[in-house]
């Protein structure tokens, strides 16, 4: 596969380390009263759909950026990729 790195263009997927569901960006509030239950979901409940999925990939043999890649897990079609820090900042600002 080729991962379309937002800064570097298409790169061999072998340069990357795969993590999985991009939901991991959304770490629960540790101060919240139901923090333990929220963390339990965060750690153990990951989606793994057959279809379009947002995933985290780390450019280990590259610029060391974490990416959020939108990929159809059935066809392997990649619909987009962003720097994870941009996604995290955007969501943090909301």
């Amino acid at each position: 596969m080729l991962i379309p790195h937002p800064l570097l263009g298409p790169r061999n997927a072998q340069e990357f380390t795969y993590l999985g569901d991009a939901q991991l960006l959304r770490r629960p509030d540790p101060q919240a009263p139901d923090a333990e239950a929220a963390f339990c979901d965060y750690v153990f409940q990951r989606s793994n759909p057959a279809g379009v999925h947002q995933e985290l990939w780390f450019h280990e043999q590259g610029d060391r950026s974490w990416l959020v890649v939108t990929r159809n897990t059935v066809t392997h079609e990649i619909l987009g990729a962003e720097l994870a820090c941009d996604v995290a900042k955007r969501e943090g600002a909301q």
């Binding site: 596969m1 080729l2 985290l56 950026s65 974490w66 900042k89």
Partner: protein, 981 residues
């Protein structure tokens, strides 16, 4: 000799070769198959199941029959297709799959028992009695099965891999491929043109058609010259594009030196990974045959192959020059072969055409509305039976060409589950619309098999493909060419009672397909597995569609309703050697060496692999008979004097920035923000699920600069997780992470005399306990101005330091410490002694931090700060983990000569051995030279409260049980006085 005139062979370069020990000669440009045919050799092998005599059937990589063992000794390669093996001087080949000489194969007896070997025979016969399978049936079947033999010697050749990138990959260099490549090349696009053949031209070389009024090879030569002159075009002959992968990635094998007697100093083959923005599939078509009774005799081959041998290789299919040749066809393509053979002076019996009213297209006899219904000739064709209007007659014939129509080579277009579609007008499956993204089929592969059609569709395909990526290509002047008539009727097999082969390689006949139908194995995937149709080296290239047609007829369904099998990579067989790529043996996996590696090697150290690292395991001295003697000496030297160990492999991550302290508070379970500059703190890292995953020290070099040390094994993972936390969780913190593991050579200087030794090399630095206490760190210089970092930390439990210098000085520093510390007993020690020292001290390592353990279990529960959030903090407080009662303890073996091994489980004396009574497990164990006995670390239920208790460490795998006494994990200096003085 049955060599004809003309052809693309170099008659000035004769080549000698042997087949089954008999010497023959051919010419440069021959394949093994063409050279054998030109020598009148029809019999080339035996079939897989019935051991029927077989001859060459095709002229390309689809060959099912003519498989040989090529070369001698270690280079012997089984199942090589004679049709694609280029002849070289001295080539030697042997036929396969027979016992005794080829013409008198003892296993031909199988053919007599063929009624018993029908499809499904194995599945049904060898089921019972069950016990017979392993001892009797399987060895017997394995002995009889298989085609060629392996040499069983190591492969002497080397292989290579590489990566190529282009705008347009053109697969196949026939008329469509050449037109596509030239169109794209002239447009300035970066083009790769790949073909499995050693000449460009594809089918153009096999036909007598004229291009621009001249033989086609003249046009091919012109195009080749122009393509070679274009710097943006790469021509790759002898290269098979064997697979299509995601996002425009293709696998290809280039046979770099298979056409040479030996590769010499170059590689045998290269595996290429080609990334192409677009591709044109111009892979041509494969002819199919028409099954009829006894259609597998040597001398019977595809009519298009017969034409190819005559035109390109000037080889006749008969054993003797004047033997008659017949053609059996269901369309005009058979007549094309007849015309070409006549032009070469062949003795043509005539054309048997299934179509009523078919007329001759030249000076030969036509049997219209007729079929071939039988053949004779044990080791080669002698006669054929022609049946017309119910009347049969026998005719002498030395060769028979069969023309059943052409199947587009759709294989690569279906590698992404793209389904070919049935084209009723062309009576063929053509690539569907759902093929791999960016691939445009052209030429015969797209059903555009006429020469003019192929040229035009190739050029148009290139223009369309390049337009999609913003490159404008213009139509080029194509040579004038004619499309030969493709008229044919749907005639799939000759009905009859005798065996009619569909798949030659697997000995699958029409009867077998009928049997599969009868047994309800009707879906194509079932048909394939029940009959083995389409399996093995040729993957049914000449058989699959014909078999489908037979099944369609039996089920009364249409051919597209019957379906088609999915083609998967590889298109043709790929050797495992080339898939392995460049390096074998030690070079297969790169090694990491420490800065003192060569120094340690010179001292005779033994090394151990730790991930990619090679670490010194121990340093044997003369007179030491076992590794234990060496390790005991090293351990005692540390405890008594001073020892030196290279610990460079520990991960070192520079953490800088205004928020470095806050960031590390969130990374470590314990506080790091409060660490004073110039001090070091031991830290625990948790996974978000609350379990421990790494530990190490963290030094604060400046207000905004920390150095995090990780374990050797987790250096990569810790860095990756810290980047995750930085980029994905807390992107607003001002933190910069840089890995500096390799930059610093780090040496542990451990033992009561370590301070004394270091004081001899530091440049005026005060090492006193007051000035540089336990857990202090500093930048300083040593040995007359060399920059260094010094940390007062200890893994061994002794007074100890770790000193880091620029990596290139690591070996020199080690040598200097050895020299200056000679009188102090300075001793290098390896990972074994390091392990013993830390077990004696009760320090955790990988075995204790195995991903299932918690800070509490280590007795460090209070280190997990309750005042702050950090990764894993919340989950570490959940009920199951908070109430964890197992604790790290020490164990002393009560049996003097026996060790409680790691992994042993602990039980109370006399208790039954079960999950319910299990008290914990041993994590690490060693002989302690200090305590002069076997000791271990273990996790034990309520461990803290069980000091002095006697338990049993059971190892049921080896049936051993060792009585042990529970003690503190700190066998050495439990108060820690040695560290702090």
């Amino acid at each position: 000799m049955t060599r004809l005139s003309g052809g693309l062979i170099d008659r000035n370069r004769p080549l000698k070769f042997t087949f089954n020990g008999t010497a023959y000669s051919g010419f440069a440009g021959d394949t093994l198959a063409s050279a054998l045919l030109a020598n009148g050799v029809q019999l080339m092998g035996r079939s897989f199941k019935y051991h029927r005599p077989r001859g060459v059937f095709s002229a390309g990589s689809e060959e099912p029959n003519a498989l040989v063992e090529l070369r001698e000794g270690a280079r012997q390669e089984p199942n090589t297709r004679a049709t694609v093996a280029e002849l070289y001087d001295g080539l030697s080949a042997r036929s396969q799959n027979h016992v005794g000489p080829l013409h008198r194969d003892l296993l031909a007896v199988n053919d007599l028992f063929s009624p018993f070997f029908a499809a499904g025979f194995y599945y049904k016969t060898f089921m019972w009695p069950r016990a017979f399978w392993e001892k009797l049936y399987e060895p017997l079947i394995r002995n009889a099965a298989g085609l060629g033999r392996l040499s069983m010697l190591p492969d002497p050749d080397s292989y290579d891999k590489g990566f190529l990138h282009c705008d347009l990959l053109v697969i196949g260099a026939g008329p469509a491929g050449l037109a596509a490549a030239l169109t794209a090349g002239r447009a300035g696009a970066r083009v790769i043109l790949g073909d499995e053949d050693f000449h460009l031209g594809g089918r153009l070389l096999m036909e007598s058609d004229l291009l621009d009024g001249a033989p086609a090879e003249a046009w091919v030569a012109t195009v080749k010259a122009e393509l070679e002159s274009l710097p943006n075009v790469r021509i790759m002959t002898r290269t098979t594009v064997f697979g299509v992968y995601d996002h425009g990635i293709f696998g290809a094998v280039e046979r770099v030196s298979d056409h040479l007697p030996e590769p010499g100093s170059t590689v045998r083959q290269t595996l290429w990974r080609i990334t192409a923005k677009r591709s044109v599939l111009a892979a041509g078509a494969t002819e199919r045959h028409i099954p009829f009774a006894d259609n597998d005799r040597p001398g019977i081959m595809l009519a298009g192959a017969m034409r190819a041998y005559a035109n390109r290789w000037a080889a006749s299919p008969v054993r003797q020059g004047n033997d008659a040749i017949a053609i059996f066809t269901n369309g005009d393509d058979g007549h094309r072969t007849a015309r070409d053979l006549l032009a070469k002076g062949a003795n043509l019996l005539g054309v048997i055409d299934t179509r009523k009213g078919a007329a001759a297209q030249g000076d030969y006899k036509v049997f219209d509305g007729a079929m071939v219904t039988g053949t004779k000739g044990r080791l080669g064709l002698r006669a054929i039976e022609i049946t017309r209007d119910g009347q049969s007659s026998w005719h002498d014939a030395g060769a028979l060409g069969v023309a059943g129509g052409w199947n587009p080579n759709v294989h690569l277009s279906s590698h992404h589950r793209g389904r070919p579609v049935w084209d009723e007008a062309r009576l063929a499956f053509v690539p569907g619309q759902n093929g791999p993204a960016g691939m445009i089929p052209a030429g015969a592969a797209a059903g555009q098999g006429g020469t003019a059609q192929a040229l035009a569709s190739g050029a148009a395909g290139a223009i369309a493909a390049l337009a999609e990526i913003g490159i404008t290509a213009h139509p080029i002047a194509l040579p004038t060419a004619k499309d030969a008539s493709a008229d044919q009727e749907a005639f799939w097999h000759v009905p009859g009672k005798r065996r009619a082969w569909v798949d030659f390689q697997n000995d699958v006949t029409v009867k077998d397909i009928k049997l599969a139908h009868q047994e309800n194995m009707r879906p194509v995937e079932h048909l394939k597995r029940w009959t083995t149709l389409g399996m093995a080296t040729d993957q049914g290239k000449t058989a699959n569609v014909s078999a489908l047609a037979v099944m369609a007829e039996l089920t009364g369904k249409s051919l597209p309703e019957t379906g088609t099998t999915i083609f998967r990579p590889p298109y043709t067989g790929v050797s495992l050697g080339v898939l392995g790529g460049g390096d074998t043996g030690k070079g297969f996996r790169p090694e990491r060496l420490t800065p003192t590696h060569h120094w340690a090697k010179a001292r005779g150290a033994e090394f151990v692999e730790v991930g990619p690292w090679m670490r010194a395991q121990y340093f044997p001295q003369a007179g030491e008979r076992t590794w234990r003697e060496t390790v005991d000496r090293e351990v005692l030297a540390v405890r008594a004097g001073v020892g030196l160990c290279d610990v460079t492999t520990l991960g070192k991550i520079d953490v800088q920035g205004a928020d470095a302290g806050e960031f590390l508070n969130r990374i470590y379970a314990n506080m790091m923000g409060t660490l004073k500059v110039g001090m070091v703190r031991y830290g625990l890292m948790l996974r978000e699920d609350g379990h421990l995953y790494d530990d190490g020290t963290c030094a604060r070099l400046a207000e905004d600069h920390y150095v995090v040390t990780t374990t050797t094994a987790n250096a990569g993972a810790v860095y990756r997780n810290m980047e995750f936390a930085h980029q994905c969780l807390w992107p607003d913190l001002d933190v910069q992470l840089i890995s500096t593991t390799d930059a610093w050579a780090q040496i542990a200087v451990a033992g009561p005399k370590s301070r004394e030794l270091l004081s001899r090399i530091v440049d005026g630095f005060d090492l006193s306990n007051e000035a540089f206490p336990f857990m202090a760190c500093a930048n300083l210089t040593v040995c007359g101005g060399l920059r260094a970092r010094l940390f007062r930390i200890s893994f061994s439990g002794e007074l100890a330091y770790e000193i880091a210098v620029p990596a290139r000085y690591g070996a020199a520093l080690m040598e200097r410490l050895m020299t200056r510390g000679q009188d102090l007993g300075a001793t290098p020690y390896g990972t074994e002694a390091l392990g013993v020292l830390r077990i004696e001290k009760g320090h955790a390592a990988g075995a204790e931090l195995n991903g299932q353990t918690t800070a509490q279990m280590l007795g460090l529960g209070r280190m997990v700060s309750q005042k702050k959030d950090s990764i894993g903090a919340i989950m570490s407080r959940r009920e199951g983990l908070a109430q964890e009662k197992r604790r790290l303890v020490g164990l002393k073996s009560l049996a003097p000569q026996t060790m409680a091994v790691s992994g042993a489980h602990l039980f109370e004396q006399g208790a039954t051995r079960s999950m319910e009574t299990d008290q914990g497990w041993v994590t690490s164990a060693c002989y302690s030279p200090h305590l002069q006995g076997y000791i271990a670390l273990a996790y034990l239920e309520n461990g803290d409260a069980r000091m002095g208790e006697t338990l049993v460490a059971a190892n049921p795998l080896e049936g051993t049980e060792v009585p042990v006494e529970v003690v503190s994990a700190h066998f050495i200096d439990p108060e820690g006085g040695r560290l702090r003085d």
